[in-house]
């Protein structure tokens, strides 16, 4: 079942700013879907349109196969979400803030206790929200999103500003939700975190989706070779002329060559034929970060063999 489907979704602010430019994507039931992009790429605007807090300029949104304003409002009741910073009443306690959420979602207050337990906030539930640390605020926001036992959880930058311990806690919570069969849509620019938790991703750049698919497909697109030679400049020049090279980057004393295939022997032979003899050659796993940088950094394409 398709949980989220957008078609040509567009948001324009005034005449000049096109924040989201006709994006279309689908999220299927049970996926942990990462929505990635540099700052200002349109991630939060897109999520805002999904949640009805930003009015789309044009395009279409379907949630749980529901369509139209009234149906979408009902469908949104099956969603738990946080957007950007945690937004609660600062003068109310964590418990009272979740009572507000429970009343809005029309669910019994008996669900608040387990939700606070799940994010390890039961001991501080009577403290005012304004006295919480950022990590506690993020966890309260997740408890608020989870309290209605939603089928779809949307989290916007849930690990923002957290220390490594806080990030680990959030990651564990997301994994726990995924293990319970929920569909999760998470935006983040912490690529390592996304790679560890997500099954699928869409990458957005300047308001347009530049790639979407499973993490496995994405990282299997190219092979990487880390090479070293006494003359680095000559190595880079030779590598750029290799027909199967997609990108060539210098990384300290080493050079990273992105290849269309995984034939490292052929690369070694080609470089040798150009008078460049390698002192080091090793395959390197393609990370999500490598792919993300390739797809979102304008300069990357100019360093490729065809440039």
């Amino acid at each position: 079942m398709t949980i989220i489907e957008t078609t040509q979704l567009t948001k324009r602010y005034g005449r000049r700013t096109l924040a989201v430019d006709g994006i279309s994507f689908r999220v299927e039931r049970g996926q942990v879907f990462g929505f990635l992009g540099p700052n200002g790429s349109g991630k939060t605007t897109t999520i805002g349109m999904l949640l009805d807090i930003i009015n789309p300029t044009s395009g279409d949104i379907r949630l749980f196969d529901q369509h139209g304003r009234a149906e979408l409002h009902l469908a949104r009741r099956r969603i738990g979400a946080t957007l950007e910073t945690p937004n609660f009443y600062p003068y109310l306690s964590g418990l009272e803030n979740l009572r507000v959420v429970a009343h809005i979602k029309e669910i019994p207050e008996s669900r608040i206790g387990p939700a606070l337990d799940a994010v390890s906030l039961a001991g501080r539930q009577r403290d005012q929200f304004r006295k919480y640390s950022l990590g506690m605020k993020q966890r309260l926001a997740i408890a608020g999103a989870m309290i209605g036992d939603p089928e779809l959880v949307i989290l916007d930058e849930p690990a923002n500003g957290l220390d490594p311990e806080g990030m680990r806690e959030i990651r564990d919570i997301i994994r726990g939700m995924a293990d319970n069969g929920r569909t999760i849509f998470v935006s983040s620019h912490l690529l390592n975190e996304v790679e560890r938790t997500c099954t699928h991703v869409a990458i957005i750049k300047n308001g347009r989706i530049v790639h979407q698919g499973s993490i496995a497909e994405l990282t299997a697109r190219h092979a990487l070779a880390l090479v070293r030679a006494p003359d680095t400049a000559a190595l880079i020049a030779a590598a750029r002329s290799y027909p199967a090279a997609v990108n060539v980057h210098q990384e300290g004393d080493d050079v990273l060559v992105e290849l269309q295939d995984d034939d490292l022997a052929a690369l070694n032979q080609f470089l040798g034929s150009r008078g460049v003899y390698l002192t080091f050659l090793a395959p390197r796993n393609v990370s999500l970060e490598d792919v993300f940088m390739e797809l979102t950094t304008d300069a990357v394409t100019t360093t490729g063999a065809s440039a």
Binding site: G48, Y91, H103, I104
Partner: protein, 280 residues
């Protein structure tokens, strides 16, 4: 979602709001001090300090003026801060529709209006009853015109609440909302004078400025044709003697009520449209 459910949500939000309690304390404290002064005078001299029904007009006028300040502050605070803290956005994310959010704020505003209104009537009635004596005790506790003034006070407070809801909605913070609201109210004095000096249709318009309507709703003359006629005669005589000064003409009851309903509807409609169309 039912109105009761919306009210329960707003109750959780409001009952720990320090600013609301301070505003209510100021309103009822000030009002009670005024009544207590009259009661102490009654205990000392044996004469009624705030006899009923004669004291209703003065006390309702006082409540109208105090309510203008207090209610405006409370409603702007409760509405604009939802934007500042982005809790309006979170409420919508959690499942409240924009229209339900507006309805919840409307319920809060009307609840505050009723608290002030009922409080004024109870306090005035209680102190007045304590002092009923002599010839005053033979009179009804409230005359026909007093009952109309009570209705006028309710409508006046509702209009103030609508102003608070509108300015709290269109502004991004409580401070900005209050500044806008008070600028709107206090600019009407000079504007009214300018319109009256222009004469003709402009002078007639001045009588219907919101501040004039608010004052008319808690003014005895609006609901008492005899008092209105006496005032008109006094004004005519002053004009003959060349002693008159430019001021908007007083409104009669039907004009004040219709104008108040139109203003309140327009302000509430404007607030609803802003909530519905604005990106949160």
């Amino acid at each position: 979602m039912s109105i009761a459910k919306l009210a329960s949500i707003e109750l959780i939000k409001t009952r720990k709001r320090f600013g609301v309690w301070m505003a209510l304390l100021f309103f009822f404290g000030f009002f009670a001090i005024s009544l207590t002064g009259g009661y102490l005078e009654h205990l000392r001299t044996g004469l009624a300090g705030t006899p009923l029904p004669q004291s209703w007009p003065g006390l309702i006028d006082l409540a109208g003026n105090l309510g203008l300040l207090v209610l405006l502050v409370m409603v702007v605070l409760l509405t604009a801060s939802e934007k500042t803290w982005r809790t309006q956005r979170q409420n919508v994310i959690d499942g409240l529709s924009r229209t339900q959010f507006f309805a919840a704020k409307l319920v809060t505003m009307m609840a505050l209006v009723f608290i002030l209104w009922i409080g004024v009537l109870l306090l005035t009635g209680t102190f007045g009853a304590l002092e009923r004596m002599g010839e005053t005790a033979e009179l009804p506790i409230a005359r026909d015109v007093d009952m109309k003034l009570m209705g006028g006070l309710l409508l006046s407070l509702t209009l103030v609440g609508a102003m608070g809801l509108f300015f709290g909605t269109v502004s991004s913070s409580s401070g900005a909302g209050l500044a806008l609201a008070f600028l709107f109210l206090f600019s009407q004095g000079p504007i009214g004078m300018l319109l009256v000096r222009e004469g003709g249709v402009w002078a007639s318009t001045a009588a219907f400025l919101p501040m004039q309507v608010l004052q008319a709703l808690t003014n005895t003359m609006t609901f008492d044709p005899e008092a209105y006629a006496r005032f008109a005669e006094t004004m005519r005589q002053m004009e003959e003697r060349g002693q008159s000064f430019p001021m908007p003409r007083p409104l009669v009851a039907s004009e004040a009520i219709v104008a108040a309903v139109i203003y309140a509807t327009a302000l509430l409609g404007g607030a609803w449209l802003v909530i519905r169309r604005r990106d949160l």
